[in-house]
Symmetry: C2
Subunit: 331 residues, 2 copies
């Protein structure tokens, strides 16, 4: 096999699209080269990897790997009130195959890093060996709506203020630790959300990640303890709902090594790394040997119109995918 890709994947690379388009390019290249695989090669794309409208994220691959029933997944209600199963029917993506109908011999996923490490270190290929654990929670704090002008500071039960304390606590704790723990409050809303009324309710999300399961659990306990203290100190009521929880995942050493070898043969530097984001590969790792290839994200930016990876890096990543798929399909 002397084949390689030299076409730039020229669609918008918005996150996962890059992997899918590269997969199709790999299959076309294998066909053109007359390669006869020992095993079938397929390109997969899963429903609802992001989890923005429907929680949890990586839902399709989780269902495929048997971690969530298809009935439960299809009944999920979105942030705008729609139901996943009905929406899939509406757009014609409600397939008839059973989840997990094809159990792969091996699974490899190509993705932009979505973080700043590869660019900062000048390394074009990431050989992803594991994925952080993810804990998603929704927190609701309830206090008393009251008049902003007439209620003395000492007599308030201000849900918005209590929520702000949690945001500050999470950031200080994660920032001041020596661990790779990251904590983010991405969603926040106040009720009644009126300028001269003390908020009676604040609803927000907590996204907590760590590559170490014990540490992730310790962080979850620390948040729970802080919320308890805060409820007492501020006279507010706090409830917590778990939205998603995935343990850290270790990828298949053989495939990670194939990625490193492929990079080395093409004269490309590579780096073993942890994925900060969640990916479908971590779900499929439950049922098949899996790993990932990363390419640099300029400025670490993703989930933004400013997301960018240089053409040369996109082609390099697709070529590594080609090489690894060739090796995996040949035996």
């Amino acid at each position: 096999m002397g084949s390689h890709l030299d076409t730039v994947i020229d669609a918008g690379i918005y996150d996962g699209c890059y992997g899918v388009l590269s997969g199709l390019e790999v299959i076309e290249t294998l066909k053109s080269a007359g390669f006869v695989p020992a095993r079938a090669v397929a390109v997969a794309t899963f429903t609802n990897e992001e989890g923005v409208r429907y929680a949890p994220d990586m839902m399709g691959s989780l269902v495929y790997a048997g971690g969530l029933s298809v009935e439960e997944a299809l009944a999920t209600v979105s942030t705008d009130g729609s139901i996943l199963g009905r929406e899939l029917q509406r757009i014609g993506y409600d397939g008839s195959e059973k989840p997990g109908f094809r159990k792969p011999h091996a699974y490899i996923e190509l993705h932009i890093e979505q973080g700043p490490v590869l660019e900062r270190e000048g390394v074009p290929i990431g050989a992803v060996q594991n994925v952080q654990g993810i804990s998603w929670q929704r927190v609701i704090i309830e206090g008393d709506a009251n008049h902003a002008g007439t209620t003395p500071m000492s007599m308030r039960r201000d849900a918005g203020h209590a929520a702000a304390r949690v945001v500050a606590f999470l950031r200080d704790r994660a920032r001041n630790s020596n661990t790779p723990t990251v904590a983010t409050v991405g969603c926040m809303s106040f009720e009644p959300n009126v300028i001269n009324v003390i908020p009676s309710r604040a609803t927000f999300t907590v996204d907590l990640r760590d590559p170490d399961e014990q540490r992730l659990q310790a962080e979850e306990r620390a948040i729970a303890a802080y919320l308890n203290e805060l409820a007492t100190a501020e006279g507010v009521t706090i409830s917590v709902e778990r939205l998603a929880r995935f343990e850290p995942v270790t990828f298949d050493e053989t495939i990670v090594h194939l990625v490193e070898e492929a990079a080395s043969k093409r004269g490309l530097a590579s780096k073993r790394m942890t994925s900060g984001a969640g990916h479908d590969a971590q779900m499929i790792a439950r049922i098949a040997p899996s790993a990932m290839v990363f390419v640099p994200s300029i400025g670490g930016i993703s989930h933004s119109p400013r997301e960018y990876t240089p053409d040369a890096d996109l082609v390099s990543g697709a070529n590594i995918l080609l090489d690894v798929v060739t090796r995996l399909a040949a035996r």
Copy 2:
């Protein structure tokens, strides 16, 4: 005049309605008693006293007193995008009289306290001698939307976290002072408001009140200084828009004294007090001698379905209004 009111004002007393209904009751009582006033007595109600959809609050009385042009007021755009002038036309409240067409000899406003003081002290009548100054600002903080899993804590420009710091700063500063200063963040929104994305923008309001103008200015300077520090420390961009600003107002001593006298004659305890909330009376005070009467708010609750004042207190307040109007209209 031996007349008095003995009817409970039995409509929902939601905030300003109590004053208007009592005013109508006063006029009916004066008529029934055959009272011939030396001056015309009118019940007034002003457009947009709350300022929830259209800023600033107390807009109608501000325009009436010449503090804002009627053209500017009618062009105000609401939180839902509608224009005040068109909305007034639509509901048939776009009158033809010029603002300030009738300059009152005296102005008196009856209102629930909306605070906890009268109830706590067991005093049925508040003789309101002044009103806190009010400063309303909208703050917009801009950072970088980025991936919650892949962006190390040290490399974030988190607009939501910066906003939370401001909420905590305001509350700590007001709570730890020995002054009556109150500070409230009632509105808050994050963008893009997605669970796994660091907020790129946080928009919130600051409601700051103090009966002393010098202190109110000092608080405004302290917030501005904190926002400057925060912008540097967090690498975020902060812009501030002034939504409303009213200096503290001192009411007319003669009318305040009439309120005290009326209470005393009816055997009711009264208390001189400061209004924590803004009221139309503070605008009309610019063009005519003005004052207010307060009745207790149970639990200090207002702007809530749980707002409540016992019937006896409602009747007492309306009787004080009757007595003071009788005195003011007789000379």
